[in-house]
Each structure stands twice: as C-alpha cells, then as structure tokens.
C-alpha cells in the first residue's frame, strides 16, 4: 500500500502529510521518484526532511532542518484554507462509496460502540486539498454502505454534492487498499480500477460492503521491486510500524 500510494505522488507536489502510512509513502516517494516532494505537516513543519521515520507528526526530527516551522494557525489558514495544498492523505475506520470517511465513532454518536480519535485535521484536509488520496485496508467492516459518522466529506455528503456544499478542494481521487485501487467516476462513486498481481476482482468485491462496480479498463498494479522493498523494510520503517 505504501508503495502504491507513493506512486500517486509527483515531484514538487505540495503534500499535507498525516501520521502513519501516508508519512511512510511520502518518505518512499521522496527517496525514489519524487525527491522534490514538498511535505507540510499539520504540526507546523514545512518542507521537512526527517532523518528518521517520524513516529508522530510532531516528531522533533521534522523540525530540525525543515525549511520553515510555523504555528498551526498558519498551517490551517494560510496553507490549507488558502488553497496551497495539492495532495492530502487520509485513512479511517470506515469509508463509503462517495469517499466519505469516518474516524469518529463506530455505532451511535451519543452512545458509541467504539470511540475513535476524531477528526484532527482530516475534515479540513478533505474539504480543501486539491487531490485527496485515501489509504485503507479493505473489508466489509471498513468499506461500508453508509458510514456511522461522516468525519471527512467525500464527493456526496448526505445527498449533497461538493459543489452544493461549497467545498473548494477536488475531493477524493483514489482509494488505495491492500487489494487494489478504487478510482472515482464522474458521479463521484468509487469503482474498482486496479488490482494487485494475483488478486481477482471478485476477491475485491467480496471485501467491499457495497456492490462495487468495476471500471471499463481494469488495470493491474506493478509490484514494488526488491530495492524498494529493501528501502521500506531496512531504512524507512525498520521497526515495521506500518508494513
């Protein structure tokens, strides 16, 4: 997943980097095909070049040798809301066919089965980033017909489109899963567009909580080569926190 996510990043993209796997994908992209990737962390580090894989988005290694460190008001107002962020990265506990994401509760909000961490900056990243990448492992429990709670809005929220809701960002462009990749069609619905080698479309559909449609031209994803795997395992995530 980290490898496939990294492939979505282009050199010189300005990326709003979240904790965990997105961070790993960005570091991989920077170490391979996108050395000019510009990483902004919601903690305030701008143009960071961390020497170690940061465990938290507020790791001190993000500060040392970054291009700028600013308050969070500047990050959210002058970078995100101002429209400077090209790529946002989100994961979550649930996603639906419109790319709505839930990171708040499983069950009823007032009386939840599981209390999750909440939005953090996710809601505004979903609203403002020009391209949004969603990275999540796939199962019927996580890819759901309807999210228990919409923390971060996708292409249609409670029946309304992004345009109707006045969202400046472009919305989700892809969902990168452990089985394949979902793209979004013109109506904003996620469709299966790419499978990993050895995975069948049926397997993907079986792991999806809604009747997943398949794109006309189904792609097969490339496998990471040995050097990339070694980079991930030995250098970027030696503790195997996200692999």
């Amino acid at each position: 997943m980290a490898y496939r996510a990294a492939q979505e990043l282009r050199d010189a993209d300005v990326v709003f980097v979240g904790i965990g796997l997105p961070n790993l994908a960005c570091n991989l992209a920077r170490a391979t095909h996108a050395p000019g990737l510009f990483m902004i962390y919601e903690s305030g580090a701008v143009g960071a070049i961390p020497e170690r894989l940061p465990v938290s988005i507020g790791d001190p290694s993000l500060v040392t040798d970054s291009l700028a460190v600013v308050g969070q008001a500047d990050i959210f107002q002058c970078m995100l809301q101002r429209g400077l962020i090209e790529v946002g990265f989100l994961g979550g506990a649930q996603v639906d066919r419109w790319g709505n994401i839930n990171t708040t509760v499983i069950g009823d909000y007032a009386n939840p089965k599981v209390r999750l961490p909440g939005s953090g900056g996710a809601c505004e990243i979903a609203v403002h980033a020009r391209r949004l990448l969603i990275v999540m492992r796939m199962s019927k429990r996580t890819f759901v017909e309807t999210c228990d709670f919409v923390t971060s809005p996708g292409h249609r929220v409670n029946g309304k489109s992004r345009a109707e809701l006045g969202m400046p960002g472009g919305g989700p462009t892809r969902i990168i899963t452990d089985l394949g990749v979902l793209d979004f069609d013109a109506t904003g619905e996620a469709v299966l567009a790419e499978v990993y080698p050895g995975v069948t479309p049926e397997q993907v559909r079986a792991a999806c909580g809604w009747p997943l449609r398949t794109a006309d031209a189904l792609r097969t994803a490339a496998e990471p080569d040995v050097s990339v795997l070694r980079l991930l395992r030995e250098k970027l995530d030696p503790q195997r926190l996200y692999l």
Binding site: I19, S43, G118, C123, P153
Partner: protein, 302 residues
C-alpha cells in the same frame, strides 16, 4: 515583577475545581509535570481543552479530575487509543465524560477568536459532514460581500493556560522554537497564564532576541522552573520524545488496574517532578538528552 514560584504554588493559585484549563502543546512542549500536580492536588470537574488531548489528559481523566473534554483528536499519537477516555465515553461506560468535539481547525479557530478579542471566528468549512451536526457550537455566518456561507465557531476563553517553553525570564516573557502548535493563541485566549520553562534566564537575555518571544510577560501570572517537565513529550534543543514510553503506555493504560498502579507510583507516590524523574529508569534522561544542533545568531544592530 518576579513571578517565579513552584509548580505546587502555581497550580494551587490558578487551577480551581470546575475551571476550564488548557495544558497546551502539539506533541512538543506538553507539560506533564503540571498535569501530575493537578492530580496530586485533587482538582475535580475540570473542563479540559486541547486540540490533541494526549496521555496527560487521559491521566487527568483516569484520576477523576475531568468532567468535560473539548478536543479535536484524542489518541496516543502513532501508537493507539486513550483508554481512560474510551472507558468513560463508550456505550458500556457507567459515568460518561462530556465530550465537545471539533476538527483541529475548528477548535483552533475558537482559540483564535479568544486570543483576538472577537466573539467568533469564521472558517471554510464543515461542508455537510456530521461534526457540525452533533456540535451545536458550530454555526454558520454569511459573507457580507460574496454571500458565501462559512462555518463560525464561538470564542473560547479558558480560565487557565499552562504553556511550557524552552526559556523564560522571571516576568514570564517566554521564548519558544521548534513546533509552536497553538501556544500563542491559547496564551492570549486564556484569562490566566502559567509559564513553565526548562530554563529561567535574565530579562536581558530575552531582550537579545525579541523575535523569539512567543508569550509576553504582561499576560503571565506565574512562572515555574521545571526542567524535564515535559517527559515523555519532547523539548526541541533539550530532549527527545520518549517514544518507548508512548508504546509501553498502550499496555499500561489498557487495564484500569495497571493504569491505577502507574498513577500511584509516578504521580500520587511522588512529591513533585524531581520525585518523578528519580523513579525513571537509570540512564533514560541521558539517552533522551538532545544532541546539540545550535543555529547561528542573527544581528539586531542598527
């Protein structure tokens, strides 16, 4: 005016039962020492406010100090959950914690309004998701020029803010570098500010680099000298984050029994921060101490 005092005195004088409180810091500069002292003094019914309530907030919750949490992301960053918070907020919980939640930008906007002396702050926006639906404090405002509908949140004026910094003088002029989080906004929004510093320096030394001053002493009421007061969080230029502790915390905090035992040993069982530090594994502080990366100074001459 010399505002130096001990953590015990600062907490006793500023944090009262039922007050609203921010112990600020975004992963950086989180003053665990202040939280532990609040637990020791047995404060109750606090409204605890922070974008990222973390371990020390969870400890305040477990210790029974908190009635209500105002927040935007509650977890053990990079590791897992806040288990006291989960126990007090999931369906099976007997004594439910009151939660008021925003996204980061939303809660930050409340603090921006408070710090700027405005009754509300506009932001773009909550876009039809469920956060605004379940939180009646998120309303809308219409731009008088474009007619665009924006989100609006009300000013937040916490009773007390506790701000940890690298250095301060005895008047509370506090200098910070590295991650700034929302420390400035929190300090200006609060009615009372406690500054906690790794190092107390002369006013003369503060004046040598005035652009580094994040919080001016005129809004500060107490100054505490508490080196290592942020462990297991970090202080740029002083010590690293104790990542191992954050990882271990997941196990310690998952069961109420081990959680309580930890509080007993490291909070109730010690008199002050010195006592806490003395109980840490030998050699840990040396291991966490920062390797120097001193930048050059700049010229303020004319």
């Amino acid at each position: 005016m010399n505002k130096l005092c001990s953590m015990k005195e600062a907490i006793a004088a500023s944090v009262t039962d039922g007050c609203s409180l921010v112990i600020d810091g975004f992963t950086h500069l989180i003053c665990f020492a202040a939280g532990h002292e609040i637990i020791r003094q047995g404060r109750r019914n606090l409204t605890a406010i922070r974008l990222t309530p973390d371990l020390v907030y969870d400890q305040l919750i477990e210790a029974g100090a908190v009635r209500k949490l105002v927040f935007s992301w509650a977890g053990n960053p990079g590791v897992g959950s806040l288990h006291a918070l989960r126990r007090r907020s999931e369906a099976s919980s007997p004594e439910r914690l009151e939660l008021e939640e925003y996204s980061h930008f939303g809660l930050l906007s409340r603090l921006l309004a408070g710090s700027a002396g405005l009754p509300f702050w506009p932001l773009n926006n909550y876009a039809g998701g469920d956060i605004a639906r379940v939180n009646p404090s998120i309303k809308t405002v219409t731009c008088p020029f474009t007619g665009q509908e924006l989100a609006a949140v009300p000013a937040l004026r916490p009773d007390v803010a506790i701000i940890h910094c690298q250095r301060a003088d005895a008047e509370g002029n506090a200098q910070v570098w590295g991650l700034l989080g929302s420390q400035k906004e929190v300090a200006f929004a609060a009615k009372k500010v406690v500054v906690v510093a790794e190092e107390i320096v002369s006013t003369e030394r503060i004046r040598k680099d005035p652009n580094r001053t994040l919080v001016p002493g005129i809004i500060v009421s107490h100054v505490v000298h508490e080196p290592w007061g942020c462990h297991p969080s970090f202080v740029q230029g002083f010590h690293d984050r104790d990542n191992d502790f954050y990882v271990k915390w997941e196990d310690i905090s998952r069961q109420p029994e081990t959680y309580r035992a930890w509080l007993e040993e490291f909070v109730h069982g010690v008199k002050d921060r010195q006592g806490y530090l003395a109980r840490l594994e030998t050699g840990l502080l040396d291991k966490l101490r920062a390797k120097a990366r001193v930048c050059e100074g700049v010229d303020y001459g004319y």
